[in-house]
């Protein structure tokens, strides 16, 4: 149906781009950097989303928190027996954890208590408990720390141990048994693992209290019913499911990349103006060229086609090189500077590897966001140029 691609015309377009070397290079450069920035942001957000999704799978189906005056407080362990009576609930485990603020480094550690006798709720912890003799940990009052924690402590000369300050002002000395590395570093970087009774001690918590309770449910179809029952039994609780977390992660990251995209629109619009302007303002040289082409028999359509080839070559080249650059920047250089937008400025968080995620949907998205914009900017100027009369231009 469409006329075939004209190779001579493509050749002409390429040589025309090269003839205006500096001008074309300038456009190419700006367009490449624009697409590069945008694609880096989208790649990073995809990676973090993938990593969180991966973490999410290892989380329990239902998490129950107690609310008091609208705030999260500790939940009584005695509720577990009631919860276990619900049909479909496989296990209910109290979790004891919290944040410990380490002032010197200005970071929060996530302190997690583990109980070797309880069934462990996380696969990574489970394999870890098997690795190291857990009884040794509580006997020597020692802990296992994440890589990031280890580094923060080292920087402050806590090589072998750390002094936790208890609520009553006393010091609790805990030795570092080993470092802990999970298959996903995002979750384990700031974690400190230690026996549950020590965590209770450090946070000044009651023996029969826990931070929250996690339930595992055999049949995911039963989750809504179980949630309903929990809400009826304990109206003061907040029940969070895996799906709730997934949706909120998705929303947060869509929101963040959406925010960035809103900024992108402004710069893209500026770029649009630049291209439009560049394409409309022709030097007398170029006008003469159009005149000669028309004089030797080119139709308006032919000139438009040639202009389109030119624009497509430039924009596609910019698109390809920007994506390759962004892939290199994000996955080899670990996206310095830009990564902070997504993970915040906490000093303990930044050191983790972005997993390689590459989906075609993102590439299509980038394509739709960039190339049509460039082509749109040149349509009207090109037509204006192409429809000039030969005799008028050559005069």
């Amino acid at each position: 149906m469409e006329s075939k691609i004209n190779h001579f015309m493509i050749g002409f377009a390429i040589s025309s781009i090269l003839r205006r070397g500096v001008k074309s290079f300038f456009t190419l450069f700006i367009f490449t950097s624009l697409i590069f920035l945008l694609s880096s942001i989208l790649f990073i957000s995809n990676s973090i989303k993938a990593e969180l999704g991966f973490t999410l799978k290892s989380l329990p189906e239902i998490t129950i928190q107690k609310l008091q005056a609208g705030r999260h407080t500790n939940i009584g362990i005695n509720r577990i027996d009631k919860l276990l009576e619900f049909h479909g609930v496989v296990s209910a485990i109290p979790r004891t954890w919290g944040y410990y603020y380490f002032e010197k480094a200005g970071v929060n550690f996530s302190v997690v208590g583990i109980d070797s006798f309880d069934k462990q709720y996380k696969n990574s912890f489970e394999s870890f408990v098997e690795d190291v003799d857990f009884d040794e940990l509580s006997k020597n009052s020692s802990m296992i720390v994440g890589v990031g924690v280890k580094k923060a402590l080292n920087d402050n000369y806590y090589k072998d141990y750390f002094n936790f300050v208890k609520p009553d002002g006393e010091l609790q000395k805990v030795t570092i048994a080993s470092t802990f590395k999970s298959s996903t570093s995002l979750e384990s970087n700031d974690i400190i693992l230690m026996p549950r009774d020590m965590v209770l001690d450090i946070f000044g918590m009651n023996e029969n209290e826990a931070t929250d309770i996690v339930l595992s449910v055999a049949n995911p179809e039963e989750i809504p019913t179980i949630i309903e029952k929990i809400r009826n039994l304990y109206p003061d609780t907040r029940v969070i499911t895996q799906n709730d977390l997934r949706v909120s992660y998705q929303n947060i990251f869509d929101y963040k990349s959406g925010m960035f995209l809103a900024l992108f629109i402004i710069s893209a619009f500026t770029f649009f103006m630049i291209v439009y302007d560049k394409a409309s303002g022709l030097s007398s040289e170029e006008k003469k060229e159009i005149g000669i082409l028309k004089a030797i028999g080119w139709k308006i359509d032919d000139i438009l086609k040639e202009k389109f080839y030119e624009a497509f070559i430039i924009s596609f080249l910019a698109f390809l090189s920007a994506i390759i650059l962004a892939l290199f920047f994000v996955y080899t250089l670990e996206a310095p500077l830009i990564k902070d937008i997504f993970i915040g400025y906490s000093r303990l968080k930044p050191t983790f590897d972005l997993p390689f995620v590459f989906d075609f949907q993102t590439v299509f998205l980038l394509f739709f966001l960039t190339i049509p914009l460039y082509l749109a900017a040149i349509i009207i100027p090109s037509w204006r140029v192409a429809s000039m009369d030969a005799d008028e231009v050559m005069r």
Partner: protein, 320 residues
């Protein structure tokens, strides 16, 4: 309001389309009214130049609309993960009242804009440009449809509500539902299958008769019956589930994206058949190649769609 990067991309492109289409519409009114190829006035000369600009703009819109339509479905599929109750694009599209109309407009516009380009190519080959007036009259109608579609789409994305519970495709496409399309479930399986193959046979007969008007009619009929039979019968074999009638779920990864292959072959087959026949009627010396292209794609579609029930029967020894 849901502002994911995908939605923003679609909205940006919609804005560009809207601006360009309005501009083209403004230019095409004098062309449609006052085009006179025999005139030698400067006005006519200007119109001829402007006609090329409008054609370029429409080409631009259509070439982008085609992949954008697939991207739209893809996006709706993705959003379905966030909206409560939705499991695929069907739930998302139906979360607003005009979802179905948006979809029909999208498909209709694809056909019309595609046909416009077809007509345009033929027009440019003709030294008397005899279709130009017709072409621009069609565009004025197509413009109104396009504007409606764009406004539907913008209000679709702005009225998406994350907290609203929508129906999943399993309930939308079932006999028990009260949705606008549920009446088609009164047709029983044997009837629709026979209807599908009879239409296909009719299509083949008109192919050999080489009569444009009949071929045109059989293509339109084939398209409608194909979509209906896909929802009512063939879909259930793709899912291997007698109760699942959704025309969107097989666009997802779990079914190896087979839906894209189905819809693309069906679209190309019927589109070339329909627009080729219309062009032939308008211009008797038009090349007859479109018969073959249309035939190839429609046969391809029929083959893919027929393979599913046959394979199911061979494997399990029973029909669903």
């Amino acid at each position: 309001m849901l502002l994911t990067p995908e939605v923003i991309a679609i909205l940006i492109l919609d804005t560009i389309f809207l601006l360009f289409a309005c501009f083209a519409f403004y230019i095409s009114i004098p062309i449609a009214l006052k085009w006179d190829i025999n005139s030698t006035s400067a006005f006519q000369y200007g119109l001829e130049k402007k006609a090329i600009l409008v054609a370029t703009i429409i080409k631009y819109i259509f070439v982008l609309k085609l992949p954008l339509f697939l991207f739209f479905i893809f996006t709706s599929d993705k959003i379905s993960g966030v909206i409560t109750g939705a499991m695929c694009a069907a739930g998302v599209v139906n979360s607003v009242d005009f979802g179905l109309s948006l979809f029909i407009f999208k498909i209709l516009n694809l056909y019309i804009f595609g046909f416009w380009l077809f007509l345009h190519t033929e027009d440019m080959k003709d030294e008397k440009l005899k279709f130009t007036k017709l072409k621009f009259t069609i565009f004025i109608v197509a413009f109104l449809l396009l504007i409606t579609e764009i406004f539907y789409e913008i209000s679709f994305f702005t009225s998406l509500d994350v907290d609203k519970i929508v129906s999943c495709c399993g309930t939308l496409f079932s006999a028990a539902s009260t949705s606008t399309i549920s009446f088609i479930f009164d047709i029983s399986n044997p009837v629709i299958v026979t209807a599908f193959y009879i239409t296909f046979a009719l299509y083949l007969i008109t192919f050999f008769l080489k009569k444009e008007s009949l071929f045109l009619a059989s293509n339109i009929l084939f398209f409608i019956v194909s979509v209906l039979s896909l929802i009512l019968f063939f879909g259930t074999y793709i899912y291997e589930l007698p109760t699942h009638h959704c025309p969107f779920c097989f666009l997802q990864k779990d079914y190896y994206y087979v839906g894209y292959a189905l819809y693309i072959t069906l679209f190309i087959g019927t589109f070339i058949g329909i627009s080729g026949s219309i062009l032939s009627i308008l211009k008797p010396e038009f090349s007859q190649n479109y018969y073959r292209t249309s035939l190839i794609f429609n046969i391809l579609y029929t083959l893919i769609v027929s393979v599913y029930p046959v394979v199911f029967y061979i494997r399990n020894g029973v029909w669903l």
